[in-house]
């Protein structure tokens, strides 16, 4: 689960609450339907007046107002959710001021991290808490995807293409770095560790 303060966590709760509301609404309506309108076997079945008959296109059934209602309300929800995504999206795509650059290279099946001073480490990345990082990502062979669950970010590593992602560690600890794009036999083993060194800036 991505930590606090990530773009993921700025949007996720909004979506979650809307989802729960819609899900509960549908579930309750569905259950009420099953409870209220069930005609059990054995009892003489009530035949609705407009029950369809074979070979006849049935009576019209519908309510324009209701149908418009459940066209407009989902549209508004969609508009709101898109709006709610804009600010975090800006954060995802924006570049922080003076980020520390890390060159990340994916190869079958290891991540290589080259720091600004030119040293390279394999399957391990050391970062400092509170510093903004920009990882420039590429691959030497097939497509990989740099995935840091702690920050809820992921970007593909494609040979010949430079992609990037940014993150700012906010707490110390050791976190996994994974490969999220299937890259062959040892895809599952293409893991690395991220160590965040303190101290974290207060506030």
């Amino acid at each position: 689960m991505p930590g606090a303060g990530t773009p993921f966590n700025e949007v996720f709760p909004t979506f979650l609450w809307f989802s729960i509301a819609i899900g509960v609404f549908v579930a309750v309506w569905l259950c009420l339907n099953l409870i209220l309108f069930r005609t059990p076997k054995g009892t003489k079945r009530r035949r609705p007046k407009d029950a369809p008959k074979p070979g006849m296109f049935p009576h019209h059934r519908g309510n324009l107002r209701l149908e418009l209602l459940w066209t407009v309300i989902p549209s508004l929800i969609v508009a709101y959710l898109t709006f709610a995504t804009l600010a975090p999206l800006d954060e995802v795509w924006g570049t922080p001021d003076n980020p520390v650059r890390i060159q990340v290279t994916g190869s079958q099946w290891v991540w290589a991290f080259t720091y600004e001073n030119g040293t390279t480490s394999y399957a391990h990345l050391d970062v400092r808490c509170g510093v903004a990082y920009e990882a420039r990502i590429t691959s030497t062979d097939v497509i990989h995807s740099l995935f840091i669950p702690q920050y809820g970010v992921k970007e593909d590593a494609v040979r010949g293409v430079d992609t990037k992602l940014t993150f700012t560690p906010t707490e110390t600890g050791t976190f996994p770095i994974l490969c999220a794009e299937y890259c062959g036999l040892s895809h599952a083993a293409m893991q690395a560790t991220l160590t965040v060194h303190g101290p974290c800036p207060s506030g």
């Binding site: 993921f8 700025e10 949007v11 979506f15 809307f18 989802s19 549908v26 309506w29 569905l30 339907n33 099953l34 309108f37 069930r38 005609t39 609705p48 407009d50 369809p52 008959k53 074979p54 070979g55 006849m56 296109f57 049935p58 009576h59 019209h60 059934r61 519908g62 309510n63 209701l66 066209t71 989902p74 969609v78 959710l81 898109t82 995504t85 999206l89 995802v92 079958q108 030497t140 062979d141 097939v142 497509i143 995807s145 970010v153 992921k154 970007e155 040979r159 010949g160 293409v161 430079d162 992609t163 996994p176 994974l178 490969c179 794009e181 299937y182 036999l185 040892s186 599952a188 083993a189």
Partner: protein
């Protein structure tokens, strides 16, 4: 287990430097070390000398390891090895070798610039052991160029104790996965045997087989499709179980990574192309001509050809099993992996070829259905009086016609890349791997709608019939279907939010993807409104449709999360996605088509399926489904990537994975109940009337159950109920209710529809 962790740390090397830390890993393939990209097997010869054919207990032996051939030793890091034995102990003699915690021995950084090593091996104290040695070597040119391939190979040797009996291969012959598959096949054979009616002579048997082999009748072709689809559903299900057994526990080794990769590739391909689509085409074949009052499809022979290409394509895809491994590139087959030397599973070639054939099959079927629905409708069946299932098939085949050729083209490009060295997708030669993603998902997203839209059609039929009322908002249902079909072509980019595409493109795709919620919402609310005020017959068919509404809503909601880019950046390619698409494809398509099985079974066979078994079947499927896939949402939240052959302990993934495996077995057992039900119902027939559910309106309920050979004795005319027996409130003018579309209550049959139906046979 610790070895796995070691691998994670040990697999530390840029391409084309032999692993300076040594090679040690349980996930190394049995064939040898492919530790470096661009590896090439067989070009070097490893030698393992000094292994005694018969060892003396506890004696110390010196073993010589060397590599012959390979590139000249130019730079550094020229070679490496890993030696494992099933008994005894290794000892490192100098600083060039090291013993790993797993007991294997390999080179060290100091021993990384050579191609010969000497190690010591102490034979086991037991006198009756058989010790197998496995040596993996690789040779590298040391140029550190990413394109420089390393060359690797393996060697084996065996040493037996004085009292050891000759090794028996019986334990090797059947491993866990094979036993599992064989057991499942045996069960399938029992079901097929049970389906053969009692008292059948050989002649009856051959006659029936011949009739099906040579048929062009839409009903028989439909049944062939449905039977094939469910057979592959069963096969794909077995692969799902293999996957779930492997993932039940962290760092499990039930399947090797190679087997696992093949399993999920074949699971995906099978379920989409060989199970879902054939089941859909099967019902479309059987039901659509009946619903529009036609005697057959427009081109019955092309229809039969389309069907027979399916088993042909499927066989080609599965031939990989006999050529050393099926395709292992995932159902999405992303290049450059799918054309890289590290994925030279021979089955991948067959996987590509087979899919091209399936594409031809689908395209033919698509043309056929468009022609049929547009030209063969019976009198009275105007386009806005076509039953919703047929509408959904019409939308589907349009999607099919526009989408499948794109996949076929992409597959042919991939084939050329693999076979004759073009470089459409190979970045090392200037190709663009992201192009494949665009092409694949331009096909792939409509494809998932191709399998879900017919499900909408089924649910629309079942909810209305079982509520014994007309569908709520017929027209808005049709418009929503059309809207979904149109939207499906402008959302493909949401599969590529992490591919580094243009931000504006990504933003637009995010917005169009969210828009999908609107027509989907209309459909869900219309179904709910259809049930409201109905006289619900709560049978298995309706239960599966109700289950569909519940699970599909869940899947739709999780789709909204994935549409939002900041959320998708975390969820992309994790188990949350797996949960999402199983909620819409299993909870959607499969639930709907299980509903379709119960709904149209009396029409197809003339008798009902048993309701008691059906109830258990539904409950087991519903519970099993949710127990399997609900925990995957949390796995995604925890950041477990999909398509991984194992996961490490300690990240909180254990419980959810175990739960999902338990659910998968509940699902498997309850799915088997469908077969039980079919056999049981055949032996205890409850005859069905023509109008089996007593409230269906479309023309399939007019003809007999099962329909006669030419489907209709006389081509029927679809009447309009509000004209024949108007409701009290309709007896005034149609304008009394503004919601009533004028077309729905038109006084006479439009002339146009009569003209249209001239072509009916």
């Amino acid at each position: 287990m610790a070895v796995c962790l070691l691998l994670v740390l040990g697999a530390v090397a840029p391409a084309s430097l032999s692993l300076s830390g040594g090679i040690s890993s349980p996930t190394l393939p049995a064939e040898g070390c492919t530790c470096h990209g661009g590896g090439k097997p067989g070009a070097v010869t490893p030698h393992l000398d000094g292994v005694p054919s018969q060892y003396e207990p506890s004696k110390v032996y010196q073993l010589n390891i060397s590599i012959e051939g390979g590139p000249p030793i130019g730079g550094v890091n020229a070679g490496g090895f890993n030696l494992a034995a099933t008994g005894g102990a290794f000892l490192s003699l100098n600083e060039t070798t090291q013993v790993f915690p797993s007991g294997e021995i390999g080179h060290t950084t100091a021993g990384n610039n050579q191609r010969a090593w000497v190690v010591q091996w102490t034979a086991p104290a037991e006198t009756d052991k058989v010790v197998d040695f496995r040596l993996l070597t690789n040779a590298v040119d040391g140029s550190a160029s990413p394109d420089a391939p390393d060359q690797w190979n393996r060697a084996t040797a065996q040493s037996m104790g004085p009292d050891a009996s000759a090794p028996t291969t019986s334990t090797e012959l059947i491993d866990g996965p094979t036993a599992f598959v064989l057991l499942a096949m045996a069960m399938l054979a029992i079901v097929v045997y049970a389906l053969i009616p009692k008292g059948w002579s050989k002649e009856d048997f051959y006659q029936t087989i011949w009739a099906y082999l040579t048929t062009t009748d839409h009903k028989r072709v439909g049944m062939l499709y449905i039977a094939t689809g469910f057979a592959f559903f069963f096969l794909g299900g077995i692969m799902a179980l293999l996957i779930r057994v492997q993932l039940a526990f962290p760092e499990n080794d039930f399947l090797s990574p190679s087997q696992y990769n093949q399993a999920f590739t074949m699971h995906g391909t099978t379920m989409i192309f060989l199970a879902a689509m054939p089941i859909i085409f099967g019902f479309a074949n059987f039901v659509v001509p009946l619903q529009i009052g036609a005697r057959d499809l427009a081109f019955p022979r092309i229809n039969a050809l389309g069907y027979w290409l399916l088993p042909a394509g499927a066989s080609i895809i599965y031939l990989g099993l006999f050529t050393g491994g099926t395709g292992d590139v995932g159902w999405t087959g992303y290049p450059p992996y799918s054309e890289s030397p590290t994925s030279q599973s021979p089955g991948t070639q067959l996987w590509v070829m087979g899919q091209v054939l399936l594409g031809i099959s689908s395209t033919l079927t698509g043309v056929n259905f468009i022609a049929t629905i547009m030209t063969l409708r019976a009198p009275g069946v105007t386009l806005l009086r076509v039953p919703l299932f047929t509408w959904s098939i019409l939308i589907t085949v349009f999607l099919l016609l526009l989408a499948i050729p794109v996949l076929t083209i992409a597959l042919v490009m991939l084939l050329l890349d693999r076979l004759i060295g073009t470089a459409f997708f190979d970045p090392s030669k200037g190709g663009d791997p992201v192009l494949w993603q665009h092409l694949f998902w331009y096909f792939g997203h409509p494809e998932v709608y191709i399998v879900i839209i017919p499900a909408f059609g089924v649910v629309s039929e079942v909810t209305a019939t079982m509520a014994r009322r007309p569908i709520f908002g017929y027209r808005s249902m049709v418009y929503a279907l059309v809207g979904l079909g149109a939207l499906s072509y402008i959302v493909w980019g949401h599969h590529m939010f992490t591919s580094g595409a243009n931000p504006l493109f990504r933003f637009l795709v995010m917005f169009t993807t969210m828009l999908v919620a609107v027509p989907t919402g209309i459909k869900i609310f219309n179904w709910l409104a259809t049930l409201t005020g109905g006289a619900l017959v709560l049978n298995t068919a309706l239960l599966f449709s109700v289950g569909f509404i519940a699970t599909f809503t869940m899947g739709g909601i999780s789709g909204m999360f994935l549409a939002s880019i900041p959320i998708d950046l975390h969820f992309h390619d994790t188990y949350f996605v797996v949960a999402h698409f199983h909620y819409v494809l299993f909870g959607g398509t499969i639930f709907a088509f299980l509903s379709a099985v119960y709904y149209w079974y009396p029409k197809i066979t003339g008798h009902f399926l048993n309701e008691r078994i059906g109830l258990v079947h539904f409950l087991g499927t519903f519970v099993g489904f949710n127990v399997t896939f609900y925990p995957m949402h949390e796995l995604g939240l925890l950041g477990m990537p999909r398509r991984t052959a194992f996961y490490v302990a300690g990240r909180g993934l254990e419980f959810d994975n175990l739960l999902a495996t338990v659910g998968a077995f509940i699902l498997a057992v309850s799915s088997a109940l469908l077969a039980v039900n079919i056999v049981y119902s055949r032996r205890n027939r409850v005859q069905a009337k023509d109008d089996a559910w007593e409230s269906g309106w479309s023309l399939e309920w007019v003809t007999s159950s099962p329909p006669p050979e030419h489907s209709f004795l006389k081509i029927p005319t679809l009447l309009v109920q509000s004209e024949v027996e108007p409701l009290p409130e309709e007896q005034g003018s149609p304008e009394a209710n503004p919601a009533i579309g004028s077309g729905l209550t038109a006084a006479a049959l439009p002339k146009r529809s009569r003209r249209r139906t001239k072509g009916s046979p």
